[in-house]
Amino acid sequence: MRHRFTSAVLGCALTALVATACNDFLSGPGIDQDPNNVTDLANPGPIYVGLQNASANIFEGQLARISGMYTQQIAGVARQFLGYDIYQSSSADLDPYWQAVFIGGGLFDARKVQNLATARGDSTTAGIAKVWEALIVGTAADFWGDVPYRQAANREQFPNPAFDPQLQVYDDIQKKLDTAIVFLSKSGATNLGPNGGGRTDELIYEGRNAAALRAKYTEVAYTLKARYYLHTAEVTPANYALAGAAALNGIKADSNDFLLSHRDAAANNNVHYQFYFNRGDVLPGAAYINLVKKRIAAGVDNVERLRFHFYNICYVEPGDGPEPDDPNFYFGYRPAADQNLPGGEGAPAGAECDDEDAEGSFSDFFWIGNDPTLRTPLITYVENQLILAEASYRGAGSGTDVAAAQPFLNNARANPKYGTKEFTPLPGTVPATLQNIIEEKYVSLFLNPEVWSDFKRTCFPFIAPAPSQVDGSEPGTEIAGRVPYGLSEISTNGANVPTGPTSRSRNANDPQACPRYTYAPGPTQAY
């Protein structure tokens, strides 16, 4: 470097005297061109890899935690999460997650993969990226309602993208998935899969060849279509039937589950795990544990599920109280860490909680704290079967067809699974009522944002709103139905950001508020 500078100096200084300027002193590779990063790329593969990894921040990050806290699968117990638990999320809090949906690693790169793949005639990769686009935007529409879509990620034409009505976004997603399915029906050259030219850029269905990937993603596309038909069925009941029809082509076996990819390296670890290590501000929710306990008591669930998700950090001498095979071994928190509400009491009688005080007698997360490579299930066979169950139950839109729904609920219950963890098939039978279908989904889809969407549509399971103040004991207003727009979007695209909705508003797909239950003894709440 120094030598080169010296020659440049001599060149510049001396040649200056004979009237030629030193034109290349100020430009060239490493001088005015970035020597550190890739600036040109023709192969969509690396961006597709980035997209898959970045999605962990969207689907295992704060959005998943918010959905989990609002549905009381988990509870915010410390610091900022006490506030989030009681629906106090500001625009500033949500900003990083709003941004992550649209920028590189999100929608923007999903589009880039499509463009690069299309330019190379790689319809497989393009089709897969369209499925990802639908998944990301569908999740955004679910959390925020109206979001920019038709004009999004297209800076040259739309420097200030308009917000599209939520129902239109869902419509557009259906069309996008239809296009994806068409793309995935074509064969042709692709870089994906083990035989795809040396790169193995597919992480979700790693090891599958191109034809298998097209088949898997076609199933995923149909399940997503079914999922988003359900999202809109509250206002368009005909969509139940469409959801059922789509789900029939959806994920056909639990071996085809769409699981996020994680590896051993710290920066490839499961985001739930990383968050737990860094912060630990959320702990198991009482509503979830109590529901599973009640199902166990009714003989329709088994303790394996609790054992997989949780453990009691109290040390219990063998024979000295409940043990891990006893559901009474597990206890969860109420919202905002309030242990004093019904269902939130702590240690099992006889347990010697050597570890902590009252707080410590509650359960902690098992896999979240112990399995950095756990692959969070995002779109699964069980979800697909339960969509079929609900669609069948609803019949043409107003029905309560338990019989039609029963086989699908039974299928889901016969293949209980979380990610790669298979549980023993559940004992007992459950009539396929809407409550049972949704509760099955609630316990199966732990920390999956679909649970919040289901709750908003069906008001199952029964959960009481969180207290209104951090230290208050009174149940607060209803459970929040959406989250605020990101602060940066408001300050840069304010004219387009809908001003009406607050965190207490309901999105267009979900106009009906749920009944407000309370914690009071003798509750209207079922559990």
């Binding site: 200056a16 610091r79 500001s90 790169d109 290590f277 707080e359 230290d471």
Partner: protein, 1094 residues
């Protein structure tokens, strides 16, 4: 653009031709002239080191012992002409005598009158230009070696504290090797520079950056040293601070934040001099917060089971990790406030040898600094070994060549600190009083025990301790920086004709900095959760600078003379950084990448900025009282976009000495000068913002800690950077208009300097926020406009000055008002916030506000149009109706409630004004001096306090813990006006209040702001100079000087934390100042200095 080049080149060609001319035509040989003489003060004392010169011939020397000098004019240049023989010495009036040069010997003695105003002193004005103090069109701020040595600061930046108006210095902590930050006047850039001035040593721009170890956080991890620390203050002769854009315009696009010009010591002809400067300082911890020792660990008065019924392997959850447990009986409590501090010491020795002949001079020095910090354990120390050689040789009568070179080896050991669960004070101060940190190693298992994991289980070596035991932190983690640095230049000065001087300088500054930051097994920090971590980083900076100037002196008439300088500057700066973060140690030691199992994606960055510049400056001295200067610089930078690759920076100044001795001076006003200057300088953009690359940087999950790599092992991943490139990016431009006046008063018994400036930054680079829905979150654009308006006053009084007794007192006062004038439609830009999360404040840029004003959530207050539970409180009786705006709303539960939706501008980190008072008394050989440093205003966010509130460790959490007699606005928060249904009602505070509203985690961030005003006793010293004849005769020294000094001995402030002068970010972030989050405290020091001169 080409035309510009051609013209410049044309000028250089003319210059080159002139350069060649004298070589071609040597003058006829003649006999030399030898001028000898003696220089004394008017009182008759001999003056050494006075410069005696014939400027028109470029010949000079310095007086030696007894004030004697010999000046030889070579025969070739003796032509019977009349020349001016000039004598200068700092503190004396320059005296000039016309003599006629003829062969043979001349004797010229001088008796110099004293001149406290130092008007004739030569002032270095940058890029090879010089002038005299009287001719300066801008305010002069100068720090000489005496002042520097009196400060006795190992870091030269700290030595500048309170030395000149509007020069603010902020030391990040008192830790050995801690960085310091200097800001001159206001911030002129939003995010493109670190807000610090350009540092130039002997004409060579040098690096003063502070770079964190790769992967070590700016809020956590360890601190870093600013590279200015590499300069040995004992080698410095003089520092000129070019404060503003007009003074520094000759440095163009690098001078937007001012320039600090450092001149190192030279040898002088005459006897060889030896000087040993030796100082020992004893450093103690400064202010500390007041922590409680009455209540133990737990919650709601109950200890956790882990304490009441301890078992191996139990741990304390976050919910019981505070000191909200039972009241302790005496004898149970440990005060953790200061148990990790000790008296540190610093030994600083510099030996220098200097001397020379009338043709050759040299200065050679070796310095050794060893600091053992004030925090216990082996990991708080800093050492700097430095050597310097400055030499010059008069090769021919017209050519002088020289070299300045310094080599520095420094090594530092640093502690985990700040926002970091492995950090020192975070762990220490959260530790409840009933936990004894000692021993930090559990005797049974040999593993770390901490208050949240008091009884380590066998085999728990890979488990986090949640917060590390502070004694573990001071002893076990390792963080080192080993720096090798060489900087200096070779230079040549050539007089092509008596009126034409060429100056060439080629300098380089090279530093290599090897970092290691390791956390052992069981460390609590971040992702590693007990598994241990090794970070290896390597930082290399290389700067090469070429500066060629030609200066022509001209005299049009006896009343019109001056000079013209043209110059070329080429500069290249390269910063290379590689870093690897590896986690999970295989065995406990060594801390080496080999001993780890997994590595995160590496850091591998190179940045090069090249600069190609041409400049010219002309001066005109009219009637010996009106001094005009005009300059123009053209900069081309590789960091400028293709479409704006070159930029012009003009300046002009005028100084008018309207009153002088014999020219209207009277007994009240002995001298008067008015000055005005306008100039432009700028700030370069950071490189490589012209394109939009794909990147592999880890993606953060919000700000909670999880980080996701875009690729996995074996399969590379990329994503599009969210910052859109801008091919049109150009420099930021700072235009400054400065007016001022300097007066000598009361027969020079006093002087007064007044300055007013208005700086306007246009084209300020703003990370212009874009809606994320387009796929990008920001683009750097030259769209901002900032303004700094300020006043500076310096008044020096010398009321008593007799042979044996003297008393000086100096006052300075400065004010700077910063305002963001325009952001071209961007509503707000969030700066590099120290904590990017909702419940922490954010420093923001907003139109009409000072840069970096704090945006935060707040309590519900009246007058903001808020609704509480659906009620419009401002217009409802019994709520806020009738209450003053801003009154604290007290809910029906009798407590304030957090406003979860609004964000408000709640605090301003910028001081209202700064000032200082300096005084010294001299009686015979004894000197007593002191310096007070004053800052009024400037809010500091004391997150340490509100975090410790949450943990029940603050004194206030005990005061308000029990009873229910607390009333907001009365006996609690008495300065708040209150309204609302609960106003005036008593309530309990206790754990509920301190873990919620008054907590850093759950309360509004606004609650933690405090006024950072202070008065500091910066220096106080007693010195004695021992130079009686027998010292010389018996001991062989010409003089011995003893000094006893205290530094930062007292701070008067209402700030409740460690020190209002603290910063959670090391010196690299420009705007985000005044954040206190478990920062290590400052120190107070006692210093003994002995200087032996021979």
């Amino acid at each position: 653009m080409r035309a510009v080049l051609r013209q410049t080149i044309g000028a250089l060609l003319v210059a080159a031709a002139t350069l060649a001319a004298p070589l071609a035509a040597p003058a006829a040989a003649q006999q030399p002239t030898t001028i000898t003489g003696r220089v004394t003060s008017e009182a008759g004392q001999p003056l050494t080191a006075a410069t005696v010169a014939i400027p028109s011939l470029g010949i000079g020397t310095q007086t030696g012992d007894g004030g004697r000098y010999t000046l030889l004019v070579p025969g070739a240049r003796v032509q019977g002409q009349r020349v001016s023989l000039q004598v200068r010495l700092i503190g004396y009036r320059q005296t000039t005598r016309e003599i006629t040069l003829s062969a043979g010997s001349l004797t010229e003695d001088f008796a110099l009158p004293t001149s406290p105003l130092r008007l004739s002193e030569v002032v270095v004005t940058g890029a090879g230009t010089l002038t005299e103090a009287e001719k300066l069109g801008t305010a002069r701020s100068n720090v000489d070696s005496t002042t520097l040595l009196r400060a006795n600061e190992p870091n030269v930046i700290n030595a500048l504290a309170a030395k000149a108006p509007n020069v603010q210095v902020l030391s990040s902590s008192g830790e050995a090797g801690a960085s310091s930050y200097i800001r001159i006047r206001g911030l002129t850039s939003i995010a493109q520079s670190d807000g610090q001035p350009l540092f130039v040593i002997d004409g060579m721009p040098v690096d003063n950056s502070t770079v964190d170890t790769p992967f070590s956080g700016t809020n956590g991890g360890t601190i870093a040293t600013n590279r200015g620390f590499d300069i040995n203050p004992a080698d410095i002769e003089n520092i000129e601070i070019l404060k503003g854009a007009s003074a520094g315009a000759i440095y163009g696009s690098r001078a937007g934040q001012g320039v600090v010009l450092i001149t190192t010591k030279r040898g002088h002809p005459g006897q060889t001099r030896y000087s040993l400067h030796s100082s020992s300082s004893f450093d103690q911890v400064g202010n500390l917060p007041d922590l409680q020792t009455e209540y133990g660990v737990g919650t709601a008065g109950v200890s956790p089971a882990c304490y009441t019924n301890p078992t191996t392997g139990c741990n304390v959850g976050f919910g019981s990790a505070g000191s909200w447990g039972p009241r302790l009986t005496s004898g149970q409590a440990f005060d953790h406030t200061d148990e990790i501090f000790r008296t540190g010491n610093t030994f600083d020795n510099t030996l220098s040898i200097s001397g020379g002949t009338d043709r050759t001079t040299f200065y050679l020095s070796a310095g050794s600094l060893n600091q053992k910090g004030f925090i216990k354990g082996p990991n708080n120390k800093y050492g700097r070994q430095s050597v310097r050689f400055n030499g010059s040789q008069q090769v021919t009568s017209t050519l002088r060549v020289g070299a300045n070179a310094a080599y520095v080896a420094s090594s530092g050991d640093f502690l985990q600190s700040r926002n970091n669960v492995s950090g020192l004070l975070l762990g220490l101060w959260r530790t409840p009083p009933d936990f004894n940190n000692d021993p930090y190693i559990d005797p049974a298992t040999g593993l770390q025990r901490s208050y949240r994991y008091p009884h380590p289980a066998v085999g728990s070596e890979l488990e986090t301790r949640r917060y590390d035991n502070a004694l573990f932190t001071v002893n076990e983690p390792v963080a080192t920086a080993d720096v090798g640095r060489a900087f200096g230049n070779i230079n040549a000065e050539y007089y092509a004709a008596p009126w034409l001087r060429f100056n060439y300088q080629l300098g380089s500054d090279f530093a290599n900095d090897e970092r290691l930051e390791a956390l052992p097994w069981t460390s609590s920090s971040g992702l590693i959760g007990g598994k241990g971590q090794v970070i290896r980083g390597s930082l290399r900076t290389v700067q090469v600078d070429h500066n060629l100037t030609a200066t022509a002196n001209y005299t049009f008439s006896p009343t019109w003379s001056g000079n013209v300088t043209v110059g070329q500057n080429l500069n290249s700066r390269t910063f290379r950084q590689t870093g690897t973060q590896a986690t999970t140690l295989i065995a406990p030691r060594p801390f080496n990448l080999f001993n780890t199992t997994s590595q995160n994606p590496p850091n591998d960055t190179r940045q090069t900025i090249r600069l190609e510049s041409y400049f010219m400056q002309g001066t005109a001295d009219l009637y010996d009282q009106l001094f005009l200067t005009g300059a123009l610089r053209n900069d081309g930078s590789s960091a400028f976009g293709q479409n704006s690759r070159r930029a012009w920076f003009p300046k002009g100044s005028v100084a008018w000495s309207f009153l002088r001795e014999g020219e209207g001076a009277n007994r009240w006003v002995s001298f008067g000068k008015a000055r005005a200057a306008y100039g432009q300088s700028g700030t370069q953009p950071l490189p490589y913002n012209l394109q939009t690359p794909f990147i592999t940087t880890l993606l953060p999950e919000g700000g909670w800690g999880p980080l996701t790599a875009p690729g996995v092992q074996g399969v590379g991943g990329l994503y599009t950077t969210p910052t859109l490139g801008n091919p049109d990016l150009g420099p930021e431009r700072v235009g400054e208009l400065e007016f001022g006046a300097d007066f000598g008063l009361l027969r020079d018994k006093a002087d007064l300097s007044l300055t007013h400036y208005r700086q306007t930054t246009t084209d300020a680079i703003l990370a212009f926020p874009l809606p994320a829905s387009i796929g990008y979150t920001a683009q750097l654009r030259n769209v901002g406009e900032l303004q700094n308006i300020g006043y500076e006053v310096a008044l020096n009084l010398r009321p008593i000055k007799t042979t044996n007794f003297g008393w000086d007192v100096g006052f300075q006062w400065a004010k700077n008002k910063n305002e963001v004038i325009s952001m071209s439609g961007a509503a707000q830009v969030v700066l590099n916030a120290p904590f990017g999360l909702g419940s922490f404040p954010q420093a923001v840029v907003r139109e009409g506000q000072p840069l970096g004003i704090w945006l935060s959530d707040d309590f519900v207050r009246c007058g903001r149009g808020l609704r509480v539970e659906g009620v419009d409180i401002d217009n409802t009786a019994g709520e806020c109706q009738g209450a003053p705006a801003g009154a604290l709303y007290i809910s029906a539960d009798n407590v304030p409630i957090k406003d979860t939706d609004g964000q408000y501008l709640v605090a301003d980190p910028n001081p209202d004004w700064t000032g200082g008072v300096r005084s010294s008394i001299t009686w015979r050989k004894l000197t007593i001096g002191g310096l007070l440093d004053i800052r009024q205003g400037g809010d500091v966010w004391n997150g340490t306090r509100t975090a410790l509130n949450h943990f029940g460790k603050t004194r206030e959490s005990v005061t308000y813990r029990e009873g229910d007699q607390w009333v907001f606005g009365q006996n609690y928060l008495p300065n708040e006006k209150v309204a609302g249904p609960g106003a005036g009602q008593p309530t309990e505070l206790g754990q509920a209040w301190f873990t919620n509203q008054a907590s850093v985690f759950n309360g509004p961030a606004s609650f933690a702001f405090e006024d950072g005003s202070f008065v500091k006793l910066r220096e106080i010293s007693v010195g004695y100079l021992w130079n009686r004849p027998y010292v010389t005769n018996r001991l062989g020294f010409s003089s011995v000087e003893f000094r006893l000094a205290g530094r930062n001995l007292a701070t008067w402030t209402d700030y409740s934390g460690v020190d209002p002068e603290t910063s959670v970010v090391s010196a690299q972030a420009s705007v985000v100042r005044g954040v206190d989050y478990f920062n290590n405290p400052q120190t107070r020091s006692y210093v003994i200095t002995v200087t032996l001169n021979r």
